[in-house]
């Protein structure tokens, strides 16, 4: 059991991470409501298991991995409830098809563009390009091989470059 003061610090650190946790959750769920629920569950789990956090490395990475695991469970649950119609994105080596337009409802145009990327791309890009994790670390968080992180990252960059081009044309 953590001392009360440590627990307070842990909670404070967790609150400070919320915007980043929510952003990561959005790359997994690509739906704001699902992302909020997922972050809530991840934080509850992190608090419950805070004694397991040894203070080494990045707390966000630890909670990211928890978030990803919870999302895998959720996807599996939905798959069962939905009669197996839902694709388990984390068992699929190939990327799934473009998500429906209804799912890309979030915030501004740039965010919509990001959330409209095929599943798996945004998470890999976020972890490596934005948060600065190595391929190995990102692979551990996402539960996929480092080679898959590498290929998803290059695909994400090309997609984003194409979006940039479309965005520039639209503005012109």
């Amino acid at each position: 059991m953590r001392p009360a003061a440590d627990m307070k610090d842990f909670r404070r650190d967790l609150v400070g991470l919320l915007p980043k946790l929510r952003r990561f959750a959005l790359t997994l769920t690509r739906d704001a409501k699902d992302a909020d629920d997922l972050v809530q569950e991840a934080c509850e789990r992190a608090i419950t298991r805070s004694q397991l956090w040894n203070g080494e490395g990045r707390l966000e990475g630890w909670v990211y991995a928890m978030t990803r695991n919870l999302w895998v469970d959720e996807v599996r649950k939905r798959k069962v409830c939905g009669g197996g119609s839902m694709v388990d994105i984390f068992d699929e080596d190939e990327l799934s098809a473009e998500p429906s337009r209804e799912r890309a409802v979030y915030a501004n145009q740039l965010q919509k563009m990001i959330l409209s990327m095929p599943e798996g791309l945004a998470s890999a890009f976020l972890l490596v390009n934005v948060d600065g994790y190595s391929y190995r670390e990102a692979a551990d968080i996402l539960g996929i091989p480092a080679g898959t992180v590498m290929s998803r990252l290059s695909t994400a960059r090309l997609r984003l470059a194409a979006m940039l081009s479309e965005d520039s044309e639209r503005r012109a």
Partner: protein, 275 residues
């Protein structure tokens, strides 16, 4: 380090950008880039995609964090955040459903209130304030002020930030607390100006800040003796607002801002160190 020989060039160049290649492969790609214009163009495209993605992901951090989630983590369990989100995209639909109910409820309450008032008014002629009125904490009054002033578009402050020296002199003499206006720009807050308020019958200085999303924050302080220990920060949430209080010398301070802001305590500590 990743072995990428035999993989598509865009994958290899992407790993090259991330510094994930062994030295031998990096040298090989350096040589390729030196002689091959298409390879250079592809590298440029990948880099442009990276920069564009970074910008887009930065925008995600400015979205409101679910209010109840912040509360639950700060204060422990007992709240069910799933039923108390920060409303964003769904707000118009929710309003459309809620307003007719509110209007109907208002009519009923007006009727009940009128009837009750008539009955009570015939038996009670005087109102004596209860002890709770005198004991009302000053931060509650500050929260009430904040809810009103934070909505002011054109008259947010009495004295604008451009008259910083005037603000320091004026408020120090009015409140009896010497201070410096904290520069909170590293925390993303721009100083807008100041007001003089009154709480519990004492003057209160209010320094007003705005973040890049337009949210209003304020540091308020009054001369006071307090039971709070110096350098101890205490955070409480009152509805949509969060208040971080602390004591320094002979003054009580409070930072007030949206309770959905996860960095409020951090901002308070920064302000306390320099004010």
């Amino acid at each position: 380090m990743q072995q990428t020989k035999g993989l598509a060039l865009e994958i290899r160049l992407s790993a090259y950008i991330d510094g994930e290649l062994p030295e031998a492969e990096k040298s090989e790609l350096d040589a390729l880039l030196a002689r091959d214009e298409k390879a250079r163009a592809l590298l440029q495209t990948l880099r442009a995609g990276s920069a564009f993605g970074n910008k887009a992901f930065e925008d995600f951090l400015h979205d409101p964090v679910p209010l109840a989630l912040v509360r639950q983590i700060k204060q422990g369990p007992g709240i069910t955040p799933r039923f108390a989100r920060v409303a964003t995209a769904n707000l118009p639909q929710r309003n459309a459903r809620v307003w007719p109910r509110l209007a109907a409820a208002s009519v009923v309450l007006l009727f009940l209130g009128g009837a009750s008032g008539f009955i009570l008014g015939s038996t009670v002629n005087t109102y004596v304030p209860g002890p709770e009125a005198a004991e009302r904490p000053w931060v509650q009054e500050i929260a009430d002020y904040h809810r009103i002033y934070a909505r002011q578009k054109r008259h947010l402050v009495e004295v604008p930030a451009s008259q910083a020296a005037e603000i320091e002199t004026w408020l120090a003499s009015s409140v009896g607390v010497a201070f410096n206006i904290p520069d909170l720009s590293p925390k993303g807050l721009t100083f807008e100006g100041a007001r003089l308020l009154v709480a519990n019958g004492k003057p209160v200085a209010q320094l007003v800040y705005r973040d890049r999303d337009g949210n209003i924050f304020a540091i308020c302080f009054q001369r006071n003796g307090s039971s709070e220990q110096p350098d101890q920060f205490s955070e409480t949430i009152r509805g949509d607002l969060s208040l971080v209080t602390w004591q320094k010398d002979k003054a009580s301070f409070v930072l007030i801002g949206p309770s959905s802001d996860p960095a409020l305590q951090d901002i308070a500590q920064t302000a306390a160190a320099v004010i």
